[in-house]
């Protein structure tokens, strides 16, 4: 328990500090890296021909999508011809069509769902030019979108900020410096960072074993800083070369928690910018608290469920003092694993340090649930935007209850906004449930399911929840490298990302153009405890009730059967 507590205690000051830094970067205020980075940025703007003009919401989304499309196109080509290119010491073949489609969407959407194993499926060039590159750009895209969103909520104009400038600044000022620091810490813990080929060693049994190495530390740092989650190796952060020690484990967890939480702080500071010297800002604190409540509820559930162990193993006469250790690393144990599991799904990173497939049914329900809600901090930037949809919905209902027409930050929420908010909230469950239904109704879908009954359904639900939430972790056990699974999850990731972001920015644009109304005693307070609790309740009512029947058939049935 204390291991968990320590991580969370270290997290709080870190997230506040980073939030302040993010706020300064977002509003283009002075930071101490400016003297150096301003020059770098200017060079980049010049080379790319980026002009410093403000964009409308529409232009912003368009720039975002087009630039992403371009990167998808380039990345796809590299994956398809990687065997012909350089930096391929392990002689890896070109990637298959549907798998390339899936992989490229997966990394561009910040999902990092991997239907391949890095060590056998990608050349070093692909790892760096496609995987690591996209880990930076997809994270930057997400945060740029979030910056555009927050700015529009606060500003009184829709023409504000430039996508390309935001994009460059996020990479140079946030992602690069942070991941360099993290990479160095990780190297100190023993992560390899090399271009040399895999080592082949003779084991004690006298057999030969390939040991996969490569530029791992650099990937590992951005993988967590950018809430990406795709591992260098198939087994992700369970392997000693990706996550060797408890310290590296903590660093990786903090890395993924850092920026999504800081986004909330930055937003909060933007809202309360009139009051100088706010440490957190009340608005953000309310949202942060709501997220934390959901996070802690999940964490406690996983921890208790895993600590209780598996009753069937107990019946066999095996003591489970350590809890259920199936699929967990001895060096992490239940506490570090439970925390990692909750963090990676709540912050929708998707890296894993234990096998989620072998979690107890309730333990496995939590990561699934986190991804189904997709608002418990969530991915970098986009998590906040998703939560804001629920915030707006809560405001809508709460405002009616006090007899005011709904209003947030002085902007009225009317029919058009409500339509888009509703649509946005609808997309996520629609993708998960419909694709899951499709998977269990078609032979090609069922072919991938490796467990019978309720657990099989859990695998399917998990996969699509992970894809749609742009998380990327797998329940594994699913034979997912098939045309059906590559295409369906590819589409799920695509819609889950771009449809949502476009709609969210459209909502922000609509709000930005609205007449501003002032607040009074009569208007709804959106920054107090009542609101926080109501927000949590609404998230659970709408988000959770939607998935309850499916969860009842999957993990809940499994749990009840296990304990009967």
């Amino acid at each position: 328990m204390w291991q968990i507590a320590i991580v969370l205690i270290i997290y709080l000051p870190l997230v506040i500090l980073t939030g302040h830094y993010l706020y300064r970067v977002t509003l283009q205020q002075k930071t101490w890296l400016d003297p150096l980075l301003d020059k770098v940025d200017t060079v980049i703007y010049k080379v790319c021909g980026i002009k410093r003009v403000d964009m409308t919401g529409k232009e912003y989304v368009l720039s975002l999508i087009l630039s992403n499309a371009f990167m998808v196109f380039m990345g796809y080509i590299i994956l398809r011809i990687q065997a012909l290119l350089f930096l391929n010491p392990n002689n890896i073949n070109n990637m298959e069509e549907t798998l390339s489609f899936n992989t490229i969407i997966s990394f561009m959407t910040n999902t990092n769902l991997q239907h391949y194993s890095g060590e056998s499926g990608l050349s070093y060039l692909s790892q760096m030019l496609v995987i690591i590159f996209m880990m930076f750009t997809s994270a930057a895209t997400g945060y740029a979108a979030c910056m555009a969103f927050c700015r529009r909520l606060v500003a009184k104009t829709d023409t504000i900020g430039n996508f390309f400038i935001d994009f460059v600044r996020v990479i140079t000022r946030i992602l690069m410096p942070f991941s360099i620091v993290v990479a160095i810490i990780l190297v100190s813990q023993g992560l390899p960072q090399t271009f040399s080929a895999n080592k082949t060693v003779q084991t004690i049994e006298g057999k030969l074993q390939d040991i996969a190495i490569g530029p791992i530390a650099s990937l590992e740092s951005i993988k967590h800083i950018g809430t990406n989650g795709g591992g260098f190796n198939g087994a992700n952060s369970t392997t000693p070369f990706e996550n060797p020690t408890v310290l590296s484990n903590i660093v990786e967890m903090l890395s993924m928690m850092l920026l999504p939480g800081a986004c909330v702080v930055a937003f909060s500071l933007m809202v309360s910018h009139r009051k100088k010297k706010a440490i957190f800002g009340k608005q953000g604190l309310a949202i942060f608290t709501a997220m934390s409540i959901l996070f802690l509820a999940g964490l406690v559930t996983v921890y208790i469920a895993e600590k209780a162990g598996n009753p069937i193993i107990s019946e066999l006469g095996i003591t489970q003092e350590l809890g259920s250790m199936e699929g967990k690393e001895m060096r992490f144990g239940v506490a570090q694993s439970a925390l990692f599991t909750t963090v990676t799904t709540a912050f929708t990173t998707g890296s894993i340090n234990n096998m989620h497939d072998t979690l107890t049914p309730l333990g496995g329900l939590v990561p699934m649930f986190n991804m189904m809600l997709n608002v418990v901090f969530g991915g970098k930037g986009v998590g906040l935007m998703n939560m804001m949809m629920y915030v707006l919905l809560t405001i809508f209902i709460a405002c009616l209850m006090i007899g005011r027409s709904p209003q947030f930050l002085g902007k009225k929420i009317e029919e058009k906004e409500m339509k888009l908010i509703a649509l946005c909230i609808l997309i996520h469950p629609a993708i998960i449930l419909l694709f899951s239904a499709l998977a269990v109704a078609t032979p090609s879908g069922i072919a991938g399911i490796t467990n019978p009954g309720a657990h099989g359904l859990s695998q399917v639900l998990y996969e699509f929840a992970s894809a749609s939430a742009n998380n990327g972790s797998g329940f594994e056990g699913l034979a997912d490298n098939s045309t059906f699974w590559n295409v369906t999850t590819g589409l799920a990731m695509f819609f889950g990302r771009y449809l949502t972001i476009s709609i969210q920015l459209a909502i922000a644009s609509l709000l930005a153009k609205k007449v501003w109304h002032s607040d009074s005693v009569g208007t709804l307070k959106t920054d107090n405890t009542t609101f926080t609790l109501l927000l949590v309740a609404i998230v659970l009512m709408i988000g959770a009730l939607t998935f309850l029947p499916a969860l009842a058939l999957g993990p809940i049935t499994e749990h009840l059967q296990l304990y009967s």
Partner: protein, 688 residues
């Protein structure tokens, strides 16, 4: 509330509402309400299953299936019926009102004056804008218009319900007349100002009839939310089917439909339109005609109320409160002079001086004689004084400070030393000083008091708690204005304000992001009424003001704006509360239906049957019955709105969350359990 109860009691109304409710089953009509439309589709599907139980695959126990499907279909039918019934009841009350109004609109003959001076008789509905008509005592005014000649009393009770006749004359603020009202004395020459079929009465009828009732912006937004919730839950059920197939759990179609209907927000979906109609109706009950639902909703958002002092905050007339003699003059002499000066004064102020003087024991000897023999000097805007000249040549005057002072100085008298001080004294407490002089010699001051309407201070305190700021507009000087403002408890005031100042105040407030409401009656109020977010015009006011405003108060009581604001809030609150209640209900319904559905295939699901319901069938049916009967149970709340006491937003939210949120979670647990206790044994006996 009284009327609501009455309407529930009348059998005829109930019957016509029921027939109406049945008519609304038409799918074309139902499409307007997507939530209930889904229920209807579900109902038709289950109905098919009653007739052909094996339509979706062969299931054993055909008879039992059929019975089960039959029960589900019946409950679904009743659910829709209840929802339609709620709407019909809401509409019914409006309809009754329309009937009375339409009676007013009986065929009237109008005497149209032609250019050559001749008269022809024409049907009222054939009148065009610009026609000149002559209406004599006992005749009904054929259409809305402006008085261009004549003076008469008009009985407006057909529209306002107020039986005391009103004087109408050419020019000023009392020149507009409304079609359907009756001239009770003398005659009026009227220029018709509205096109046939567009009169105030016509507008009122269409408004109440609800034929032109458009959904308000907020209603549409809420409807969007409800539709998307419906879609989400449809997706849930649609995707559930293949999943259960995959797991070899068999669930009947009727059960899936029952689950859908329980989960989608039928409670609020069924009551939403009734809430809207009833809300508008409440405004009408208050004798206020809202030109659109949007206006009523906007009322809920009002931040700033701009109120005229005279007539709204204070009674229209000032009352004499005290006589203040100047130094060297006996109080008795002043009172006597004041009494004399007001003997022929018919204004309310004059009358109040007389009654105060009498109270203080004035010598009223020879009153009739004096009135008869003296020359009356009426008040005019030029002289700004009034009084009388007695036969003996004594000039008794009362009037404004500067006028009397001037007269006095011109006559060569000295101004009493403490006059200035007395005037100040009266002004500083918000009073109006009237100076009394006999033969241009100043005797003292009459203190005319502006009387603030009773209970207003408390009202303004409540408004403040609700976050509404009040601004008083008055033509008085700043000193007087400040005193009245303090007494009435308004937040701020604008003294010496001209009508155009009002617009500026409204614009300034709007620039600060406030929603502004105001009342007005005069023509020069029209631009301000149009500029304000909510403009309430008085029915006694000019047509221009009524056109510009988005609400008209038939009783011409400006204070009513406060009630209208409350009704607007109540309307939104009712929607919010019932939406919350509806969504919160889902938790219990899940706990009833999910274990029941899966218990056959997964016996361990019994653990989730926390309500300990009798059997799966009974659980599902109980949830469905609860879902249906909650609609009529909530009709009274939908009709009269949730209880509302002015308080701060935070308190209000907590209170409503407790009642409708937490209550909404708990109520169905209890309700479903009770229904299960009743129907459970019944099902066992019929073998379900």
């Amino acid at each position: 509330m009284e009327t609501v109860r009455k309407s529930f009691m009348t059998g005829i109304m109930l019957k016509s509402a029921l027939i109406d409710a049945l008519k609304k089953f038409s799918p074309i009509y139902m499409l307007k309400n997507p939530v209930m439309f889904v229920v209807e589709v579900g109902f038709l599907l289950v109905l098919l299953l009653v007739l052909f139980p094996n339509m979706f695959g062969n299931e054993d126990g055909e008879q039992a299936r059929r019975l089960y499907n039959g029960i589900v279909a019946t409950i679904l039918f009743i659910t829709i019926l209840f929802a339609n019934f709620a709407e019909s009841i809401a509409e019914g009350r409006g309809k009754a009102q329309v009937q009375t109004l339409k009676k007013t609109k009986t065929v009237t003959q109008a005497r149209v004056l032609l250019n050559d001076g001749s008269e022809i008789l024409q049907q009222a509905h054939e009148l065009k804008k610009g026609d000149i008509v002559l209406v004599q005592a006992g005749e009904v005014i054929p259409n809305d218009g402006e008085v261009i000649d004549g003076i008469a009393t008009v009985d407006e009770s057909a529209i306002t319900g107020e039986s005391a006749p009103v004087v109408k004359e050419r020019g000023g603020d009392f020149s507009s007349v409304t079609g359907g009202t009756t001239v009770t004395s003398d005659w009026l020459m009227i220029e018709i100002t509205s096109m046939p079929g567009e009169s105030f009465l016509d507008k009122m009828i269409t408004l109440i009839e609800g034929a032109s009732r458009k959904k308000t912006p907020n209603e549409i937004a809420l409807n969007t939310l409800l539709v998307s919730l419906t879609i989400i839950f449809l997706l849930v059920v649609v995707s559930l089917y293949p999943m259960t197939m995959y797991l070899n759990v068999s669930i009947s179609i009727a059960t899936l439909i029952a689950l859908t209907v329980c989960l989608i927000p039928t409670t609020i979906g069924g009551l939403l339109s009734a809430i809207g109609i009833a809300g508008m109706d409440r405004v009408t009950q208050f004798n206020v005609i809202a030109m659109s639902g949007r206006a009523v909703e906007a009322c809920g958002d009002v931040d700033t109320l701009i109120l005229d002092k005279t007539g709204t905050i204070t009674y229209g007339n000032r009352m004499a409160a005290e006589f203040l003699p100047v130094k060297g003059v006996k109080s008795k002499d002043l009172i006597q002079a004041a009494w004399l000066s007001s003997l022929t004064d018919d204004t309310p102020e004059g009358k109040s001086i007389l009654s105060l003087a009498c109270e203080l024991g004035v010598n009223t000897d020879g009153e009739e004689n004096i009135i008869k023999s003296s020359e009356h000097i009426p008040f005019t805007a030029q002289t700004r004084m009034s009084g009388l000249d007695k036969v003996d040549g004594t000039k008794v005057r009362k009037g404004a400070y500067d006028t009397i002072k001037k007269e006095c100085m011109e006559a060569g008298h000295s101004i009493p030393a403490n006059l200035e001080q007395l005037v100040q004294q009266v002004s500083s407490v918000g009073g109006t000083p009237l100076i009394v002089a006999v033969n241009d010699k100043i005797l003292g001051v009459i203190y005319l008091k502006d009387v603030v309407k009773a209970g207003l201070k408390e009202r303004f305190d409540q408004l403040r708690a609700m976050g509404i700021k009040t601004i008083m507009c008055t033509g008085d000087n700043p000193l007087t204005a400040a005193a009245i403002a303090k007494e009435a408890g308004v937040d701020s005031f604008i003294a010496e304000s001209k009508p155009e100042d009002k617009i500026q105040v409204i614009k300034d407030e709007q620039a600060l992001g406030k929603v502004v409401a105001m009342t007005g009656d005069g023509t020069n109020d029209a631009p301000a009424l149009a500029q304000a977010n909510v403009g309430l015009a008085m029915n006694s006011g000019t047509n221009a003001a009524k056109e510009a405003a988005n609400m008209v108060d038939l009783d011409s009581n400006p204070t009513k704006i406060i009630e209208v604001v409350e009704i607007g809030k109540q309307l939104l609150m009712t929607r919010g509360a019932l939406t919350t209640f509806s969504i919160a209900n889902d938790i219990a319904k899940y706990f009833a239906i999910i274990p029941a559905m899966l218990m056959v295939a997964v016996p361990e699901m019994r653990a989730l049957n926390i309500m300990n319901l009798n059997s799966p069938t009974s659980a599902i049916i109980s949830a469905l019955i609860f879902n249906a009967i909650i609609i009529p149970l909530l009709i009274p709340i939908a009709m009269r709105g949730v209880k509302y006491k002015p308080m701060s937003a935070a308190k209000l939210l907590n209170k409503n969350l407790l009642v409708y949120g937490i209550g909404g979670v708990i109520a169905p647990f209890i309700g479903i359990k009770i229904i299960d206790l009743l129907v459970g044994p019944l099902f066992r006996t019929v073998g379900l």
